[in-house]
């Protein structure tokens, strides 16, 4: 089954192919032989505010939808668990997600998108067999994912009407139940023909949860926003840009989750996103674009006009510079990943590989499965994921949530502790040594949940000032006898292959990449990708800055799109590999831009 992981607007993601036996992992360089630099014992500055999953409970605000779902869930499971062996359900969950999405976009001063849609989706998770082996167990030769649930939208009406809600739940459960019975038969057949198979169970035991959050409201002045976006996009269409757009997406989400273990969770939240984007085709046909986004909990959290003007100035200046920038050649050498670029780098290179379920996927590379307790990064570096963080250094983080999509409360998860791998992001799919969920089972409507990232945070206990990091890069350039080093300030996304079929490599797409020469001169270049293997990349980190930056985005993978963030200091790497990126065979427009005024 092919899976693409995406962050921001660009693909990131493991993609599979045919299964081949996993190759032995490459040996890690030991700390004794790794290069060390003197760093000051001053930790990177991280100040967070958090909200625990059960804060702001408002049990008197419970929607009748939750009770209707629970009643039908109970009625269904009573019958389904009494079925004969092989068709007996042991678990049933229903989740209704109602989402209102408001999209407004303007280009060059004119409104181009104006939509306001509300959808209510029903997802049903029915498990047949037992937690030790059930219908969700991956089968060995299933490259097309034939044994996976067919992804489709579960329709369920709006409003609170019991009869129509119960009918929709019954119909979807009936469809999913028969699908699951069928899938278990294939799983058992597969198990009978395999010489070895995963011994870990398919489903973990978790406590029932009860939580009700009061329904929130989405408030914004539409006319005002349209005027702001028109003004913004008129300013953005300048310089070399042939496209200049400004847009917002506002969402109001209400989620109702019930399961046969007694969980009843109602959550309600809004989020808002502002984008400023410009683009142009370079003379050699390369599509150049520059995007700046800001996220907030509500529309009111989005930046004011003065900050938006700065975003416009940044993207248009960068685009003009990119338009004139030379194409770069392949390169191996020292490099700096600046804050947000470092965050995206960690999300891709590390974060996806410590999503728990990947450690037991027989077709997966299981990069970190055997490294628990072992050094994989410098001893001054730690990484954790914490969906409970609301703000980090005053920036709202996009990966905040209270309960995951399996009804488990979100938890802080240490992943690397002083260089040692100590944990994984877990949903309810257990792996060896990690029998329980830590509240990271996430998905978007219509997809089965898997372990996903929330707010990934990279900590450094020893740091240097950002300026000093650049001096250290120049030292490295000289030591390694390079003509220049590289600095990456913005990465749009990328992909990482986690299957055993293909090399366990990653590729990320830098938008703003500079050559730094020993004399301190910087030169912007374009047309390159960063590639490499995760274990080597992590061991290559030499130093971190004191300053932390946060990247907010939306990540796509096999369980759909989920909001995430990644916060990291700027990092100096001893070696990073850069290769030529794909440039489509095209050319700049043949004619110059049309005159706006008549002669």
């Amino acid at each position: 089954m092919r899976t693409i992981l995406l962050i921001g607007l660009v693909a990131c993601g493991p993609v599979a192919g045919e299964r081949t036996p996993a190759k032995p992992l490459p040996p890690l360089p030991s700390r004794a032989t790794a290069l060390h630099l003197d760093l000051e014992p001053v930790p990177a500055k991280i100040v967070t505010t958090s909200s625990t999953p059960t804060e702001d409970a408002a049990s008197d605000k419970k929607s009748p939808v939750l009770d209707t779902l629970a009643a039908e869930n109970t009625r269904e499971i009573e019958v389904l668990k009494a079925q004969p062996e092989g068709a007996r359900a042991y678990y049933l969950a229903h989740q209704v997600i109602e989402t209102r999405v408001v999209s407004l976009e303007a280009e060059g001063g004119a409104l181009t998108v104006d939509t306001d849609d509300t959808q209510r989706n029903l997802d049903t998770d029915v498990r047949i067999g037992s937690p030790a082996l059930d219908n969700t167990h991956p089968i060995s030769d299933d490259t097309n994912g034939l044994n996976s649930p067919y992804q489709r939208r579960g329709m369920i009406p709006f409003d609170d009407d019991k009869e129509s809600l119960a009918h929709a739940v019954w119909l979807d459960t009936d469809r999913r139940y028969h699908e699951a019975v069928n899938a278990l038969a294939y799983v058992r057949q597969d198990q009978a023909t395999l010489s070895k198979h995963s011994k870990e169970p398919d489903f973990s035991a978790e406590p029932a949860e009860g939580y009700v959050e009061a329904p929130t409201k989405l408030e914004f002045d539409k006319a005002l926003w349209i005027e702001r976006l028109k003004r913004c996009s008129a300013k953005a269409l300048r310089g070399s840009a042939t496209r200049g757009t400004c847009g917002v997406v506002f969402q109001l989400n209400t989620s109702y989750f019930v399961n046969s273990e007694g969980s009843k969770v109602q959550q309600s939240w809004t989020n808002a996103q502002l984008s400023v984007s410009v683009g142009v085709k370079a003379d050699d046909g390369m599509n150049l674009s520059r995007l700046e986004q800001r996220f907030g909990r509500t529309p009111a959290d989005l930046p004011a006009d003065a900050e938006v003007d700065k975003m416009i100035s940044l993207v248009t200046t960068d685009l003009d510079a990119l338009h004139d920038a030379p194409l770069a050649d392949p390169y191996v050498g020292p490099a700096i990943l600046e804050g947000r670029a470092a965050g995206v780098f960690f999300h891709e290179v590390f974060g996806h590989r410590v999503e728990g379920h990947r450690q037991k996927d027989v077709t997966g590379g299981q990069t970190f499965a055997s490294y628990v307790g072992k050094d994989i990064a410098p001893e001054w570096l730690s990484v954790y994921d914490d969906p409970q963080i609301v703000t980090l250094n005053g920036i709202q983080l996009n990966g905040f949530y209270r309960f995951d999509d399996e009804g488990v409360r979100a938890r802080h998860v240490p992943l690397i502790d002083h260089g040692k791998l100590v944990g994984f992001e877990m949903g309810r799919n257990p792996i060896n040594g990690f029998p329980h969920s830590n509240g990271h089972g996430r998905k978007s409507a219509g997809y089965p949940p898997v372990a996903r990232q929330g707010n990934l945070v990279v900590e450094a206990s020893k740091t240097v000032e950002r300026k000093q990091l650049e001096a250290m890069l120049i030292d490295q350039i000289k030591k390694q006898h390079r003509k220049f080093g590289m600095i990456f300030t913005d990465i749009s996304g990328g992909f990482t292959n986690t299957t055993a079929f293909a090399p366990q490599a990653f590729k990320v797409n830098p938008v703003m990449a500079y050559r730094l020469y020993p004399d301190g001169k910087k030169e912007l270049v374009r047309g390159i990708d960063i590639s490499g293997t995760p274990l080597v990349a992590l061991q290559s980190i030499l130093a971190a800055s004191r300053e932390i930056e946060s990247f907010n985005g939306v990540c796509g993978a096999e369980s759909g799109w989920v909001p995430v963030s990644a916060s990291a200091p700027s990092l100096l790497l001893e070696k990073l590999e850069v290769e030529k990126g794909f440039i489509p065979p095209d050319r700049a427009p043949i004619l110059g831009a049309p005159s706006v005024r008549k002669p």
């Binding site: 009625r75 019958v79 060059g108 004119a110 939509t115 329709m155 019954w170 009936d174 699908e179 049309p594």
Partner: protein
């Protein structure tokens, strides 16, 4: 005296005028595409035509722009509660660039492994008139289309040289006179989302009284599609299409597990062309009963004999086995024969020959607005290539007179008769049916035909004759019931040449007794079977629908149009036909769609 006479003449008319429903209030003209926008875009088109050139490569010899503005309201509901509610409003510019010459250009050729390269490009325009931006969009879109056209021409010439495609002596582009008509075509305003929601809630609530049903949905749509056509030949013309529709679908399950469906679907120019709310409620009840009857009906077995297609069954037969073959546009070069079948083409070499029974004549008339007092939605003033719509006599007394053509001719001298509607692989518009009238000579009553089909069947030694009254439409009934594994299997094993399964089919016995049967699947109906139509009815059925861009199999695989939502995508089409009695067709029983019976009883049952 003169005045008095006029008054007297008017007086008797007053009462009948009073009974007529008030005309729908006209909606506004576009605020997104104004004369200033058209001027700006035309200016850019002319600049591109005169200046666009890559040294050493041919310049464009023809550029055409189609601007489309769509505003659509869609609402659906189940059991009295809304499922979805949505407005979509967008404007786009579609550019077609031709390089080469009218005798041989890039068009109507499929580039191997790059079917998307077809000399066309599309980009959105703003929702509000902004000439500078419109000009910029036209510039970039034309640039992209021109580059594609050059690649396509090179590939076409190379393929012809190598003999890998069979070239034709027919020109690539037929001449036509420029058309100018720039006054906006105003149409009635859309029904609001609130109006649509109120209707679908009321109608879908009818199904609450039928707990035997497995699923039911009601959806309504109201949309306007404004179009503007500009060409470098001087055409500058506008047209507007307006439609409203209501769709009701229900699903049941037979004791052996087979899922059964039926639906009710009506389209008109506005909601006033649709049945009244009271009539629609009656149709909803009838639909519920029909599905319950289907669930109890016996499974069909093999049959080879006369088949009578009545009402919507006759419409379905025309739609599935005849209409596609009336197009006269040559098949795209470079397309393999299996893919080419979707474009019909069974009659392209048969002009002047008998192709259907002598009692049948066929006319396609996009200028018709109604038939037998019922609205027809398949019409327009201007086709997709900016050519004025024309009424065409396709078949007279069984003889093929001509085909429905676009500006891509199949022979020298052939010109467009204003039927360019469907874009095909390779980028060319294809001539296709619009308001299709099938007419029969010497019709009998429906009842007499039923007697005739039984008599014909008896003469062949069979106990009953077969009557088909409705075919399945996967755009409406494509419920997502299958597993991923079953869907893959279906792709492998489904014969795409088959007509859709029959939804309402009856065994009719001597004496007139009727027996509803399920799982009825016609074998492939070749064009020559239409020579065996032995009788028609005097009654005619007028039916409007939206022809989806996807095949019936694709719709089945993807669960219908837009994830079970109301079908508001597709090309407006109308068919007017009598009942049709075919002498002999092969029909088999199908067990497709068998699912396990529910383990848990339906709530409230």
């Amino acid at each position: 005296m003169k005045k008095l006479a006029v008054l007297c003449a008017l007086l008797p008319a007053v009462p009948s005028l009073a009974k007529k429903p008030a005309p729908d209030p006209m909606g506004p003209a576009s605020v997104a595409v104004t004369p200033q926008i058209l001027d700006a875009i035309a200016e850019e088109m002319n600049r591109d035509m005169s200046q666009l050139e890559i040294p050493g490569a041919p310049k464009p010899y023809h550029i055409s722009y189609k601007i489309t503005e769509v505003d659509v309201n869609n609402v659906s509901a189940s059991l009295g509660e809304p499922l979805a509610r949505q407005n979509r409003h967008f404007v786009n510019l579609e550019v077609r660039v031709r390089v080469g010459s009218p005798d041989l250009d890039n068009s109507n050729f499929v580039v191997a492994e790059a079917t998307e390269i077809n000399g066309t490009a599309t980009q959105n325009l703003p929702l509000e008139a902004t000439p500078a931006l419109a000009k910029r969009v036209a510039w970039l879109t034309t640039d992209a289309a021109y580059k594609e056209a050059l690649i396509q021409l090179q590939a076409k010439l190379e393929a012809r040289r190598a003999g890998s495609v069979r070239g034709s002596d027919a020109p690539s582009l037929a001449p036509t006179k420029p058309v100018v008509g720039e006054d906006p075509v105003l149409v009635p305003a859309l029904e609001s989302l609130d109006e649509l929601e109120a209707r679908v809630k009321t109608l879908s609530a009818v199904f609450r009284d039928h707990p035997e049903l497995r699923d039911s949905r009601v959806a309504a749509t109201s949309y306007v599609e404004r179009r503007w056509y500009l060409t470098t030949e001087g055409t500058s013309v506008t047209d507007t299409r307006r439609a409203s529709g209501i769709v009701m679908g229900a699903e049941g399950q037979a004791d052996d597990g087979q899922l059964v469906h039926d639906y009710f679907l009506r389209y008109g120019h506005t909601a006033k062309d649709l049945p009244s709310d009271k009539d629609l409620e009656a149709e909803a009840k009838k639909l519920a009963e029909s599905v319950k009857d289907l669930a109890k009906a016996p499974l069909f077995d093999h049959y080879s004999g006369p088949v009578l297609f009545e009402g919507e069954g006759a419409v379905g037969m025309v739609r599935a086995t005849l209409a596609a073959n009336l197009g006269g546009t040559p098949l795209p070069e470079g397309l393999n024969p299996q893919e080419a079948k979707q474009y019909g083409g069974a009659l392209t070499e048969k002009v002047g020959l008998r192709v259907v029974a002598p009692l049948l004549s066929i006319v396609d008339d996009p200028t018709a607005k109604d038939a037998d007092g019922k609205a027809l939605i398949g019409g327009y003033r201007i086709d997709d290539e900016g050519v004025t719509a024309q009424k065409v006599e396709v078949v007279k007394d069984g003889m093929l007179k001509t085909l429905l053509t676009s500006r891509t001719p199949s022979a020298k001298g052939q010109v467009s008769n204003g039927h360019a509607r469907v874009p095909g692989d390779g980028g060319a518009f294809r001539g296709s049916a619009t308001n299709l009238f099938v007419m029969g000579r010497g019709g009998s009553s429906r009842r007499a035909l039923e007697g005739q089909v039984v008599a014909m069947a008896r003469a062949e030694g069979m106990k009953y004759g077969l009557v088909i009254r409705r075919f399945d439409d996967a755009a409406v009934t494509g419920a997502p019931e299958f597993t991923r594994r079953e869907l893959f299997q279906m792709i492998k094993s489904t014969d795409q040449e088959l007509p859709p399964p029959a939804t309402l089919a009856y065994r009719v016995y001597p004496g007139g007794k009727e027996e509803l049967v399920r799982g009825v699947q016609l074998a492939e109906v070749p064009m020559r079977s239409w020579k065996d139509v032995t009788a028609v009815s005097t009654e005619k059925t007028v039916y409007n629908f939206l022809a989806p861009f996807e095949s019936q199999l694709q719709l089945r695989l993807t669960g219908g149009t837009e994830e079970e939502f109301v079908p508001s995508g597709g090309i407006e089409a109308s068919i007017v036909t009598p009942d049709l009695l075919f002498k002999e067709l092969d029909v088999s029983g199908s067990r497709a769609g068998v699912r396990p019976l529910p383990v848990v009883e339906k709530p409230g049952k």
